[in-house]
């Protein structure tokens, strides 16, 4: 099937709000190339479970496409139109399985050496869309916070090497009550600017007490879900004929309720958490990548005004000789390795925050938990500076925001 064959009935299996949205744009979709439409539908089919920022962006994008003249249409999509597809792709049910189509499309682009052409077309499209329907700036300047190094008593190597050139490094921060100060700061921002999914707290371990105005995701709270997911994956893998593509398709078809989520009354957050575990690589096993990937996806999708990420020790990767020994140990933690993971993860959190609108006004704080080292980045913080002035995290945040 090609986009020109679309009609409203094709979307009967979409969730109600997604169906209502998309069926209003069938004529628009009919005129677009197949290399583009499933990418759009991949987001549209999730509309009922998307964050407010995502929904607004999708609505603006569809409205923009609808407003195109024939000439504009050609200009915007000539790159996509030049990409050739296989008949197998054309015959897929890309309306109801757009994510699977996009995955197959990706493999096709790699195999036929058309990936660069697709990237070029997608880049040009993104640039045009950005100009025609610019993303909205946040209602308040963003604040990102990373807390790293939980469980490490001493660490002599340089920290925050990737972040320090972008802000001020503080070596004499009073650590007492530091985490509480940070959580209070997030809560204060949530109360002052109450936005749905606007203020987040991600914990790679067990979450600390926090305001109910904050959206919270934690590795510890998801432990039964992770265990269930791993069990299901192992069962599937042991079945004859199972391959990675089939496994990925099965993961894509999982529902929050099927994984024991869905009791919170927040379908959007449940689905978000399920995707972190079913789409993220390593998120089921290592808490450090769980925290970093959750932050990345929260920033990319929800675009929060405030995001506090607290990394926690992940399980230790045993070397081969230990795995081959008969000794049976309980799962051990690796605080030092986790500190290195988290130091880099904090850098990625900052990069991902800076990709969002309003980056020039955004601030970012990274702190070595229960220690005196922190780096503060923001428009008011001189870059590449160091200070040994005695301060605390509350004061640091007040200087930044």
């Amino acid at each position: 099937m090609l986009p020109r064959d679309l009609n409203t009935e094709r979307f009967n299996r979409y969730p109600p709000e997604a169906r209502k949205l998309v069926t209003g744009y069938v004529l628009t979709l009919q005129a677009l190339p197949l290399t583009f439409v499933p990418n759009l539908l991949r987001e549209a089919i999730e509309y009922d479970f998307e964050f407010p920022t995502e929904r607004k962006a999708l609505e603006k994008e569809l409205a923009n496409l609808q407003s195109h003249s024939a000439v504009q249409q050609k200009e915007w999509f000539q790159g996509f139109a030049q990409i050739t597809l296989s008949s197998e792709l054309e015959q897929m049910d890309w309306v109801n399985s757009p994510a699977q189509f996009v995955e197959r499309l990706s493999a096709h682009l790699w195999a036929t050496h058309q990936l660069d052409a697709f990237r070029k077309a997608a880049t040009e499209y993104a640039g045009r869309l950005h100009a025609a329907a610019p993303p909205e700036p946040p209602p308040v300047p963003r604040l990102g916070i990373a807390v790293i190094g939980q469980g490490v008593s001493t660490y002599d190597d340089p920290m925050f090497r990737k972040l320090r050139p972008h802000g001020g490094y503080f070596s004499n921060v009073k650590p007492e009550g530091g985490l509480r100060m940070l959580l209070d700061a997030v809560a204060a921002r949530a109360e002052k600017t109450p936005i749905s999914y606007g203020h987040w707290y991600v914990d790679g371990g067990e979450e600390a007490e926090h305001s109910s105005a904050i959206t919270c995701v934690s590795y510890h709270a998801l432990e039964p879900v992770r265990a269930d997911l791993l069990r299901k994956m192992r069962t599937e893998i042991e079945k004859p004929g199972m391959g990675p593509e089939t496994l990925r398709t099965l993961l894509a078809q999982m529902s929050p309720a099927g994984l024991g989520l869905g009791k919170s009354g927040d379908a959007v957050l449940d689905r978000f958490q399920m995707k972190i575990l079913t789409e993220g690589s390593g998120t089921q096993i290592f808490s450090t990548i769980f925290a970093q990937w959750t932050a990345r996806e929260a920033l990319r999708r929800a675009q929060p005004c405030t995001l506090l990420v607290r990394f926690a020790p992940r399980q230790r990767q045993k070397p081969m000789n230990e795995l081959l020994s008969d000794k049976r140990d309980e799962t051990e933690l690796d605080p030092l390795g986790s500190l290195i993971d988290a130091d880099f993860g904090a850098y990625y959190n900052w990069i991902n925050q800076q990709r969002l609108p309003g980056a020039d006004q955004s601030s970012f704080l990274a702190w070595f938990e229960n220690h005196g080292n922190a780096v503060a980045i923001g428009p008011s913080m001189p870059r590449g500076t160091e200070s040994n002035k005695t301060t605390d995290l509350r004061e640091l945040i007040s200087w930044m925001t």
Partner: protein, 388 residues
């Protein structure tokens, strides 16, 4: 957001990467720029006849980025490459892989000189003749003269293509150390299933291979190791790549193949997203490459007549591409994920030379053909003039 891509001025970015690598190496190791020595490899090689020459190729299934290796802040992770191997090598700063960035299919492309398009995760042979088939058919070499030591079950078909003019019976023998270990270990263990997982790209999937009889035959008859000795030694090693290098040592001593291809993959633990484990993998690979070089120099069958090639199959994603997640994967197809490097050292290779000119991954097989005097007629690449 999900569909936004960064601009890809790929050629310019590849050139910048290469230029940076040259500067890093010039500053750190005092190497020279290589244009002036073009063609000198042939002169240096003349003393060794191609019939006696041996070639060892090490590829990494899981590239490492410059910022963790050759850039000033990364050099701490590769002390052996920097201080021991690079000064003895001709170093190519810009090896571009224009194919599919999956480890099996990319390694198959390296081994055929053609950008293969086979399913990365299926147990399929390459579609074009491999270097091993050209080598054995053209030079009439026995099966024991070409070996592959590969990390995972998915590589069990890498030694021999499905090409009708080559293929069956003309390829390399393939040894899979982890599969060997599986065969050697008694049942009852469950913990090591994690260790033996096949492929970091798909951490929960490993193609099934046939029974253990063949593996145990390899162990006892070819490597001359008892099952007990093999198990005991494995228990002293920290990683699968260390096991591979141990197997390589036995292979060099017992079979002394003229064409030996080793694929490592410890670095690819990066897919699990733990930066510290990725760094550990780089440091281990650095040490193991130096170990292989020392083995080459100390084994009588190899010393003085071997050329060693070391190259990652491709790179990893940059921090700058919003489509990826930095070091974790190689999915964006951006310039850092496609642009890697290669070093050649040993017989017939000028020392301390840096070549900036771009080459492609597919140039390796034609270069090996020129070195060993076989004709890889279906390969797409070109021989590298500084080596061929």
């Amino acid at each position: 957001m999900g569909r936004i891509y960064k601009p890809a001025a790929a050629n310019e970015l590849s050139r910048n990467l290469a230029s940076s690598r040259r500067e890093f190496l010039r500053n750190a190791a005092g190497l020279t720029l290589g244009g002036a020595v073009l063609g000198s490899g042939a002169v240096a090689r003349a003393a060794i006849s191609s019939s006696k020459r041996k070639v060892v190729v090490i590829t990494f299934g899981g590239g490492a980025r410059d910022q963790e290796t050759f850039a000033p802040e990364g050099q701490i992770n590769i002390p052996h490459l920097m201080s021991e191997l690079i000064p003895q090598s001709t170093f190519f700063t810009q090896v571009v892989n224009r194919g599919i960035l999956g480890h099996y299919v990319a390694t198959a492309s390296l081994a055929t000189g053609v950008y293969e398009t086979i399913n990365n995760f299926a147990s399929l042979p390459p579609e074009h003749p491999t270097v091993f088939e050209y080598f054995r058919k053209d030079l009439k070499r026995p099966p024991s003269d070409a070996w592959v030591v590969a990390p995972s079950n998915g590589f069990n078909r890498i030694g021999e293509s499905s090409h009708r003019s080559y293929g069956s019976g003309l390829g390399a023998r393939v040894i899979l150390p982890k599969h060997l270990l599986t065969a050697a270990l008694s049942s009852g263990h469950s913990d090591y299933q994690h260790l033996l997982r096949d492929n970091y790209e798909t951490p929960f999937y490993a193609p099934e291979l046939g029974g253990s009889e063949v593996e145990l035959h390899q162990l006892e008859n070819i490597l001359k190791l008892s099952v007990d000795d093999f198990k005991a030694h494995a228990r002293t090693l920290s990683s699968p790549d260390e096991l591979s290098v141990y197997v390589v040592r036995q292979l060099m001593r017992q079979e002394a193949p003229s064409l030996l291809w080793i694929t490592m993959h410890d670095i690819d633990v990066a897919h699990a997203g733990a930066y510290s484990l990725y760094i550990d993998g780089i440091r281990r690979t650095d040490r193991l490459c130096a170990e292989v070089w020392k083995m080459i120099q100390s084994e009588v069958e190899y010393a003085g007549k071997t050329t060693l090639f070391i190259l990652p199959d491709f790179g990893r994603d940059s921090d700058d591409d919003s489509g990826g997640n930095g070091f974790q994967h190689h999915r964006t197809g951006d310039a850092p994920s496609r642009t890697t490097w290669m070093m050649a050292l040993g017989t017939g290779v000028r020392q301390g030379v840096v070549i900036d000119r771009p080459m492609e991954s597919t140039d390796l097989v034609p270069t090996l053909g020129a070195l060993l005097n076989f004709s890889p007629s279906l390969a797409q690449g070109k021989p590298i003039p500084e080596l061929a």
